[in-house]
Chain length 460, copies 4
């Protein structure tokens, strides 16, 4: 067990992986401008956690054995880069799946635990590759015209399997080491070839990843957030990739084909909710700062909107706390968060997010999109004039206020902002899935008993 | 210290109190039909808790000394009648005020603790009398044309004070023993006469209470909830009522004039949120039962609405749990719930309530208001026909379904339902107050720091 | 052609009809307290419109032949009692069905026109009887365990048909002359017996109607609206009722089984929207009056809420105006309103209604449900005191303000209010149906063309 | 009176104007990449409308003299470029102001009409310059520390005035000919120097404009909308600009200082609503196209969301139609739209916009932000693979679907989308102003009369 440094991490990516972006294959990731920020973030994460020598491992490889440990994990991960968060959440999801399928398929549970150790021993970063291309949504996976639109086993060999398909929306895939492949939905009898979960190194033959990215191409100062925080989104092509048996976690057992997606959903939504708490507070902060900068923070309708944002952020936080406080242990003693509270909180936070952004835009004003560029502030002829007119009250200089407008635009109404607007709704499987799971884990019998008391009066 | 039985409680109300309703003074409360249900509920509460002998006292006189005790209290009180709940919450509010004003006014804090013991020793029921008539809302209490529209001290004597005014919306006042009078809002210097808090027995000379009530006058079977659960709402007139010094908790100290209202706000909203959790579950239960009765529980848009109701109920619960989990002790070691989470949860629950009722009505259908009377079910000519046509699927007989419609109407769209719709918004001081308090107790500095990271990148 | 007076109308109800309420058969409608108000309203409508002599007929029997006539009709009907409105809208719906099925079934179209003349000639009042009992919602009408849960033809004779079933939510059925029976939904081949539309006199043998009603039983002064405006809701039993051929409008032609429901939906939603415009303005008026009475009308958050209510009322009005301005003529030259705008306006008005009521309750305050009874105002001991404390600002006396609170409670949070809350969602077929029809009549091709311009740029 | 061609228009911009962007002064607008699209759009507008010879003028200089002409104008302008729309709406706003101030200040009304003719005769393009820098929002214009934060008269000369200040959010200022300057809000007595309206050529000495712009810098194919539709946003500096008397429309008359803003508000919101109708339909179209592309268009919850979008688009359209149908003529016979309906429709459209975008994102899926670049589709190694996996159902090829995702991202969740999200809320003066004006023009007396009927029953 040994930890990597930033330099070792960057070197590790030079492993023959095949990465594409903007229409071309990228020969050296570490020198490509579109990947610079994300590699910097992940690399800094390695350096920050690094402890030399054998036997060391990062806290992102720990499994919570109590509600307190789970709570601590959720707080700690807010300081990590996204790839490290994904590694932690994804491996916990995999262990959750192991716990849930252990009695039926002990061999798979064992392989998952071994794989967890493998990642931990080598300080690897993993991403979950779940969403399939899906083809015609009204047709079952096994009945599609093109059988590859759901990832599938195309060959079964004595030493492993060969898989083909595509996995979409795989954030950070290109800068990670491992793809944890799992079925996008429940497979039915007859769809054994599509019931496949396994781990694949990013540089395995047959893997190619096409990337997109909201990182700004220029004027980085006008994009204070997205220039510092961005990750490539990967469209992962799996072209007859061989997976050895020890990395196969499901290969035809349809009864557990949805176990991975459910487990991942739980942890993704929990992590998402933890980030939402921070996002909610950030939105409140931006609203309060811009109101103070505009000198409008005491106007009644501005205060009302900020109060609504405060209540939003607080309720998401309450949901997260309840999800942790109601966590339950698996037979292994691993603590998994409450499905009910996790899903309810995530749904609320995601569903109301665009309304909160509307409040922020309503409070901020048109300069969110019309403020002159930071470069203009430095122009010797007009720079001082812009600062003069962007200045409002004592203590708020024109440059700070201009930068604040750019931050709000970048965070909520441009590249990163748009990405956040969409992923807010889609991450963790979409609002619909969150409603479904909330409903499933709710104590409906108790609710019906309460309702019957309204009909019939209290029971005996 | 001794506890009362139901019979003793009923007898205790024959104490000369002056109660009015429907235009007339009521000579004997215990035989008046409009008070029958509420006296039954409160009386049963006495009998249920009664333990004979000296030294016994009800759990509603306990002060939580840990988060666990606070949690237990909140769960337990759901089983109590409203007067007992009000007694517990109101006295805790009074103790909260005592804790908050102890350093400035130790004498008042002492009197409050003595008063708490007095109530406990005699197993009394207390209500909080806070809302003043208020007159012209644009004019300060001390500047009103009629100085009585805010309750005030009209005479200061060596042995006590004399107060005059009216207190509105005082639920259950007529069937309780004690009125805990407190200022409706912060008083300013010059308004010392209106800065008055004290305890007044309901039967004190000068007290008269006019009552209104949503209890059904007839057809009780068509009102399954409101016929079993109703409390009189009191319009309390204080006509030069003498209060001895030991029951005076504030008499001119304007610096602490809002302390009572804030303390009461906290406990009322906490108790309100605890009930909201139950109400939320009840609404889900009613929705699920009527959907199952109609045979529509598997229709997609019905399921979606119920899932939204589930998320609503779950988030209110999360807010309550967080309010308790984040409770903090006073110097006395008494645990008070988190202002932030309490207010955010109460606001959300109240603000979204009418939307949840809309979902229930949307799911239920027009029979909520058009179902024939229960009496019609028993009519020998048409009763069987009604049952025939109200029957839907196996296991759902027509009478049960008819009763379910009446229960939904009564609970959400008639006398009790309307009362609930209004008080949901108004209780605990109204939505506006809840936004205000949420904003006040939110960690705005942290939010601004997070926002500044978006502008400037991470600190240091 | 001759018109009836109130006296003649009341006499006409003594025709052997069989009416039930509160568990008993009512022998004389005109002396029963629960029907007094509605008979008064309908009777006054007769007297107000009455012109003596042959050849006269009410304006509620006119068919709009231009957009201007349609607009005038919609404005005029707001002054009519509900039964007269229903008669007008229902017969226009029937004529709409006639126009739509004329080419396929000219005989039925002819019978409908004859029936229209019959009603007009005798100044009759008609209600539409559409909603069936429906039994198990997951089972088709022809497959139900009890075949009567959808109204059906049980016998076909040379001179007519015999029908059996129940029709629910039939407002005012008991005080009208005619029931216009129509299928509740589209029937499929094999369900010919359930594809039945016809007209049945209320006093036809086999018809029995069970009534429910939100009319106050006592304290009428505390119910200023519902004591003046209420109609019985009828649960109509059709027990092997014979219908002669000339009153049969459909008897097995499943292709047109939904034509009646669609036509009625259009006119019900149009009439409903016209009333919604008035209801919207009424809610704004109540909000403004109570704000002025409380002296809060200049407070920022109160003004904001009233402004939102103003926008609501204005948008419903805009929708109604657009529905009329976009009306199209049938081949007969009859003008039918726009399906698209009618449904969109009705949906918006209904869906947002509970939110507007919430605003009103938020603005009004707790006295909406706790104000003393009007009788208490007249009590010589406490009456003046209540008025003193309910008084606020110059020009607002305590009695007026108390009555205003009762009006708001009655209109939005009690018997009538609850009825309105539910029927707002359910009338015209429910929100779901309105969404469906809006979608169906929207110009989707144009929308897709606009969207494609975003993808590909402007066409050529 | 003569019309310009595109070439003449482009040449006309070479007039000494001083334009800045990205930190530098732009020497030749017509060759700068950031202005290319907008110049193309405006230039094409010139060519499309051009008629040679004297006496010709564009339809954007017509004044509606009837509701029909107003309706036609609103339909026609949807086909114009934004600068031409602004010219038409702005000049109509100016004429509205003229009509409203004619009796008090006939000389100004005359100058405005002359100015209108000047623009028309020379086929000029004008923008309105209204929003001031505003400094400290809690301080009146005349009391600011820096008096220039509201544009003001710094010198009054016999032949004109000299003005100083800044005007923000001035779309297209740099590519127009004329700035119509007007006060941002009502000025009070003592603030005469800030009560200034006038017309200033863009190339007048002392005018400098700093620009920002969401036009894509590269990968134009990934930005199908914003690469074709973008306008520079101008931050206009007025540094002691001389304005001759004939172009001064207000110079100290505070009684009419708000007349311009109100007039502009009306026309901006009307034009905004007209565009919103198209935007609403476009959103519906995008939702339907992507649902069909995903093969999800028949799924219940997808259909429900699209139906809600349909109702949204339809109600905005109803509001626009009602604003026009209720237009009223000025004494001059010019038709001005209804303030009430215009503001209500604009408010609704803007307030619900982010919710509609949420629906679109919910329907579309994560590929909105993760779809590979169009360039990747052309990569010979991965292009075909991407198309294979982006393909879904017959008739939907992978490239079309990829382009559709990019269009949705660009239109609602990136550069243009973010701009639209913010300006939707802010344009026409913000939601708050729209509520204020709606409230002001609503018939409150009628609403109160209706409400009093609930309290007291019908009058007389």
């Amino acid at each position: 067990m040994v930890m990597m440094t930033k330099a070792e991490y960057l070197a590790s990516l030079n492993d023959g992986r095949r990465i594409f972006a903007d229409g071309e294959e990228i020969k050296d990731l570490t020198t490509h401008p579109q990947f610079a920020t994300s590699l910097e973030l992940v690399g800094d994460g390695y350096d920050r956690h690094h402890r030399p020598g054998r036997g060391a491992c990062g806290p992102y490889f720990s499994i919570p054995h109590s509600r307190e440990e789970l709570k601590e994990l959720l707080e700690t991960l807010l300081g990590w880069d996204m790839v490290t968060v994904t590694t932690s959440q994804g491996l916990l999801a995999l262990l959750t799946a192991a716990a849930r399928m252990r009695s039926a398929h002990p061999e798979y549970a064992k392989r998952i635990e071994d794989y967890f150790d493998h990642c931990k021993d080598n300080d690897l970063r993993c991403v979950q590759a779940i969403t399939d291309a899906k083809g015609d949504r009204t047709v079952a996976p096994g009945k599609q015209e093109d059988p590859d639109v759901y990832t599938r086993i195309v060959e079964r060999r004595s030493d492993g399997i060969v898989v083909r398909g595509a996995k979409l929306h795989i954030s950070s895939a290109s800068i990670s080491h491992e793809l944890v492949v799992m079925p996008t939905k429940k497979m039915k009898p007859g769809e054994e070839d599509w019931a496949v979960a396994c781990a694949i190194p990013v540089n395995a033959p047959g893997v190619r990843i096409v990337n997109t990215n909201y990182a700004p191409r220029d004027r980085h100062e006008d994009f204070p957030h997205s220039s510092r925080h961005n990750m490539p989104e990967g469209f992962v092509l799996l072209d007859d990739v061989f997976v050895p048996n020890e990395r196969v976690f499901l290969a035809g057992e349809t009864d557990h084909s949805a176990t991975f997606a459910h487990s991942l959903g739980l942890w993704e939504r929990l992590g998402g909710t933890a980030h939402l708490v921070e996002i909610g507070d950030t939105l409140v902060g931006l609203a309060q700062l811009i109101a103070e900068s505009n000198g409008t923070q005491r106007i009644s309708h501005i205060r009302e909107k900020i109060a609504e944002m405060v209540i939003y952020a607080t309720l998401v936080r309450a949901g997260l706390e309840a999800a942790i406080a109601n966590a339950e242990p698996s037979p292994e003693g691993w603590y998994f968060p409450s499905e009910l509270f996790t899903n309810a909180a995530k749904h609320f936070g995601a569903a109301e997010f665009s309304h909160m952004v509307r409040h922020l835009h309503d409070i901020g004003g048109g300069s969110i999109v019309t403020a002159p560029s930071i470069a203009d502030l430095e122009n010797e002829e007009v720079g001082e004039q812009i600062k003069k007119y962007m200045h409002t009250v004592d203590g708020v200089d024109g440059e700070y206020r201009t930068r604040l407008f750019h931050a709000i635009r970048d965070y909520t109404a441009d590249a990163f902002g748009g990405w956040q607007l969409v992923t807010m709704i889609q991450s963790g499987g979409g609002l619909y899935a969150q409603r479904l799971v909330s409903r499933k884990h709710y104590d409906m019998d108790k609710a019906k008993a309460l309702a019957l008391e309204v009909v019939n009066g209290p029971k005996g």
